[in-house]
């Protein structure tokens, strides 16, 4: 069975700082995808970044990047130059070939002015 664990329920950082959100996962599959989703108070789940397990290169999307450690089953999200609009819940998630997304419990991120 797939599991996703986020050990940081809540974090706060100052605007313009860099913050790293942690995530570990477990799966018996060889081929899978990992995701970070952002959920602002509007509840709209927005895909931030995704990583294909068979790719060694860490994914990046503008200010967002991941540190994917496959052997350790670790998948952290780094947000550089954080902005007030980054304030939201962030969910780490995994997906096997059954297309079913398994989410972690989330990290509530506050960006302080």
């Amino acid at each position: 069975a797939q599991t996703v664990t986020q050990s940081q329920p809540e974090m706060s950082v100052q605007e313009a700082e860099t913050v790293t959100l942690s995530c570990t996962y477990d799966t018996s599959e060889n081929n899978y995808y990992l995701f970070w989703y952002k959920q602002p108070p509007s509840r709209q789940m927005i895909l931030v970044i995704r990583q294909e397990a068979y790719k060694q290169q860490n994914a990046t999307e503008n200010r967002f990047s991941v540190n994917f450690q496959k052997a350790a089953k670790s998948f952290s999200l780094k947000i550089s130059d954080s902005q007030l609009g980054d304030t939201a819940m962030y969910f780490c998630a995994s997906m096997n070939r059954d297309d079913k997304i398994i989410f972690g419990k989330g990290t509530r991120l506050h960006i302080l002015p």
Binding site: V4, N31, Y32, Y33, S42, R43, Q44, M45, I46, L47, R50, E52, F91, A93, M95, N96, R97, D98, D99, K100, I101, I102, F103, G104, K105, G106
Partner: protein, 117 residues
């Protein structure tokens, strides 16, 4: 270019009432998913459709939960005899299906917040 829409956005029900939650996926999306998100938790998978076929309903918590997608587009999640523990946000997502894992990005709707009193 509308995204996934869900209605109603908010629903208050008395315990024991039946409710129906609607999801309009992105036009042309083959796959449709329902998730349940309890307060302070991550979403949990409920059920999955490919066109009109319900391929996986392993996440439905009880036989009071029923989902359908009769014409392969709009889907309805029905909850019979609602209980307080059914209070949650119900998220719908849709995706194209290329047959390749991970190419099927799921686009989420805004959810329906159900409160059972």
């Amino acid at each position: 270019g509308a995204g996934v829409s869900q209605s109603p956005r908010y629903k208050v029900a008395k315990r024991g009432q039946d409710v129906a939650l609607r999801c309009d996926p992105i036009s042309g999306h083959v796959s449709l998913f329902w998730y349940q998100q309890a307060l302070g938790q991550g979403p949990e998978f409920l059920t999955y459709f490919q066109n009109e076929a319900q391929l996986d309903k392993s996440g439905l918590p009880s036989d009071r939960f029923f989902a359908e997608r009769p014409e392969g587009s709009v889907s309805t999640l029905k909850i019979q005899r609602t209980q307080q523990e059914d209070s949650a946000v119900y998220l719908c997502a849709s995706s194209t299906r290329t047959g390749q894992i991970g190419n099927n990005e799921q686009f989420f709707g805004p959810g329906t917040r159900l409160t059972v009193l």
